[in-house]
Symmetry: C2
Subunit: 485 residues, 2 copies
């Protein structure tokens, strides 16, 4: 062990906890470049990756990157006890998975603990995620990972009769359903502590949309206060320390375009906010993640089983996902459209139908008459009132009008170069165009799809029917025979 | 593009090319933390990983870690053109392998080029290596990777009739065969430009052993000069820039204890030094990498086929590997023992038998009478003379005597606590003890196995017969029937 004086270097390398040691101190500790040391400052302890220098810091001093300064809350001149880090035993479990052996809960917990504590290198983390992707995970392993991820993060509890949640696996541009479902079900007396993500590759995430109306970066305590007052919230999940391992895994998964941990990722966050009832929206069809209803059904079954094992009652809504929802794509345009819908200033049949179906399913799950309550909440203006209450409690302008929402000042009208009907809209191409326009980082950027306004080539009847079908716990097809054995 | 002034930070993060940008410069370039930029200084170009700061460097200045300063040969105040790096297309090929699709040569070449140029992140490299490990590589892919690795590195050529080489897949402590084979075959007129590695997990690598007798860190030009003068050399491969991708892959493989690229790694380095004839030593048995002769045969077949596809004529020696070779383990002890053997001061039957067999096989391959020539070279003292000539040309003391070689001054004799015969020696345990004593970084540390001196419980007959059998290109077992079809 050596005692070293801190020099905050003011360099940021993502979330990597990098410590710069003088080569003589490193030699004294017996650590080499990219090796790991533990830093101790009174009670707080942290694992850091070693870089070496002869000049950037002197012997007796340890240079620390931003991540370490922030997490340990230390400044120049602080003294740290520095020790060579123990070899994390979870590396053995990672190697085990790399040989295609299943992981037990205790092994998952150890891996997740070491991930959160920064004890695993990027190489080890990547090997783990890639091995999960190569060999897949059993239901048992998925449940274990989800439990371990909940266990190592913050857990919320609400003293309310029905804590419900909804989740969409995404893939459809313009999906503003959450902005409608949360106020509707909260207005009907359910508790819905909704956390959302920002966009990674899409034109907008729900957190991006909601942020147009109100602050979404709330701490866990602030979020709890909002939910206790209003029965709902729409906040960004990133600041809540729920299942923090997930954020680390996502940073590995994203650049590789893989998501082996999708199920544990979703479920751990639902479990961590205390959800008891959950609707999972699975958009389906060309241009979405699940191309066929068969695929969607299989995923739905797994989702429901996994939720059940975590003590969450879940149902899935397989929804029509082959074209954008509503007329708008982009944070501000979508927030404005959602506000118009809930204020009943505007008929947007597909968006409204989807929100009503999902809200009804949630209410039905807890034994209430969903369709009737939802209709009442919308017609009476209670849903709008609830949305404004949530906006107010999260720190936004609760008197906001659709016309107050600023959209980009530059525009370009694109007309079809021939007459005809729109047979299909390419979700991915539309998302790319919206991103090229600046969405989601420029909130006012996006696309307005006029043609879907005028032309009902894709809908037959009075309204868009968005729900393909609901999947509940009982099997869709019961076997009516018993195998000989 | 922005022009930035260099500030050399004097921090080393392994071979990672890290550049520290002021956050405003990063914003101007549109790159974020851990993104990649290309640095251009006149002709030289390099890809760097971005860290961000508000204080460590000012706007207009770029902080560079050691790797960048060294490779680009730049100092404080130099001006660099900095651009956001293009997305490397080879990432698509990596993703392809992650979905278990085979890689074509062109794809391998692109991956290897980007690896060498530093355009792939550690996450991408690890995902690639892990996917190779999960799904394996076909012969076709192995050959493609080897060719790509040769293509992107330095290639040596020797104007000599027979350029030969030997390689051991390792796993047996005390294996000083190379120190004997190189001078023997060079004394018999063959050219053997031998490159060796240092120990990673064993008690000593051949480069560690040879370094006791002579400098082994030679540049490619210095190595060529030695070989042109003496017909042989024993140098460390790490400074030669042969197949540089391999060193990068090994840095990923080693901490994960996997080696999916073992075959391309070995073969690319043999090809890069211009080898035409090759003997691969495959130690076999309990305590080695290949536990059974069947496993060893299968590997041998693949090795021979792969070498053939690269234009190298190869044979394999399946050798007895269940116990240490000779009486010594540790760099200095082993170098001393090898010197005593070649000086014929000491009979060490197993070490001598193995070296004679491998040297004979090499000579037989080029149409000479191996056993006779080898016997002559040893008895006449020509092999010893050749070793001293190589030592001299590599810059060592060519008059060195065994007693000049210093071994550690502290010793501990360990006696068996009961009478009996040694039935088996545990290779791994012996390597661990030698490493615990300080080997290989402390060259004088190691183990002397007295008992193997006195007790021949494991050998029957006059000498140790080390060669189990030789594997040549023609199949061991020819099918004598034709399948109906």
């Amino acid at each position: 062990m050596v005692k070293l004086k801190v020099k905050v270097l003011g360099i940021e390398a993502g979330d990597k906890p990098i410590a710069v040691l003088h080569e003589e101190d490193a030699a004294d500790l017996g650590v080499s470049v990219l090796g790991r040391v533990t830093l101790k400052d009174g009670g707080a302890e942290m694992t850091a990756v070693v870089n070496i220098t002869r000049s950037a810091v002197q012997k007796g001093t340890i240079g620390v990157f931003e991540r370490i300064a922030t997490v340990m809350n230390i400044t120049n001149g602080a003294e740290l006890d520095v020790n060579p880090a123990q070899y994390p035993t979870s590396v053995n479990y990672i190697r085990s998975k790399m040989r295609n052996r299943p992981l037990a809960y205790e092994e998952c917990l150890e891996i997740v603990k070491d991930t959160v504590a920064g004890r695993l290198s990027e190489i080890e983390l990547t090997a783990f995620v890639t091995a999960l992707n190569s060999f897949g995970m059993s239901m048992e392993e998925s449940v274990s990972m989800a439990r371990a991820m909940v266990e190592t993060g913050r857990k919320l509890e609400f003293n309310a009769p029905y804590v419900v949640d909804k989740h969409s696996i995404g893939g459809v541009p313009g999906d503003k359903t959450t902005l409608l479902v949360v106020p509707i079900v909260a207005a009907c007396g359910l508790t819905i502590p909704k956390t959302s993500s920002r966009s990674i590759t899409s034109a907008a995430g729900t957190a991006d949309r909601a942020e147009v109306l109100m602050p979404v970066t709330l701490s866990a305590d602030e979020m709890k206060a909002v939910v206790n007052k209003t029965g709902g919230c729409i906040v960004w999940g990133g600041a809540l320390e729920l299942a923090p391992a997930d954020d680390i895994f996502i940073r590995i998964e994203h650049p590789l375009s893989i998501d082996p941990l999708m199920m544990p990722s979703i479920m751990s966050k639902k479990k961590a906010v205390g959800s008891e009832y959950l609707i999972i929206d699975i958009p389906c069809g060309r241009g979405t993640k699940l191309k066929t209803i068969g695929d969607a059904d299989l995923l739905a079954k797994d989702m429901i089983e996994m939720a059940g094992r975590l003590g969450i009652k879940a149902e899935c809504a397989i929804t029509y996902g082959e074209q954008p929802i509503g007329h708008t794509i982009g944070p501000a345009l979508e927030a404005r459209e959602a506000l118009e819908i809930i204020m009943r200033k505007r008929a947007v049949p597909d968006a409204l139908d989807k929100a009503k179906h999902i809200a009804s399913m949630l209410l039905n799950m807890v034994g209430k008459d969903g369709p009737k309550l939802v209709e009442d909440a919308l017609k009476s203006g209670k849903a709008e009132e609830k949305l404004r209450q949530i906006i107010f409690e999260q720190g936004g302008d609760h008197e906001v009008q659709p016309s107050d929402i600023e959209i980009g000042k530059y525009g370009l009208d694109i007309h079809a170069d021939r007459k005809g009907v729109v047979l299909w809209a390419n979700n991915q191409a539309l998302a790319s165009v919206a991103r090229a326009a600046g969405s989601p980082s420029d909130k006012g950027a996006g696309i307005y799809l006029y043609v879907l306004d005028q032309d009902e080539a894709m809908a037959i009847g009075d309204r868009m029917e968005m729900l393909v079908h609901a999947v509940r716990e009982n099997p869709l097809y019961k076997k009516s025979f018993i195998l000989e054995r």
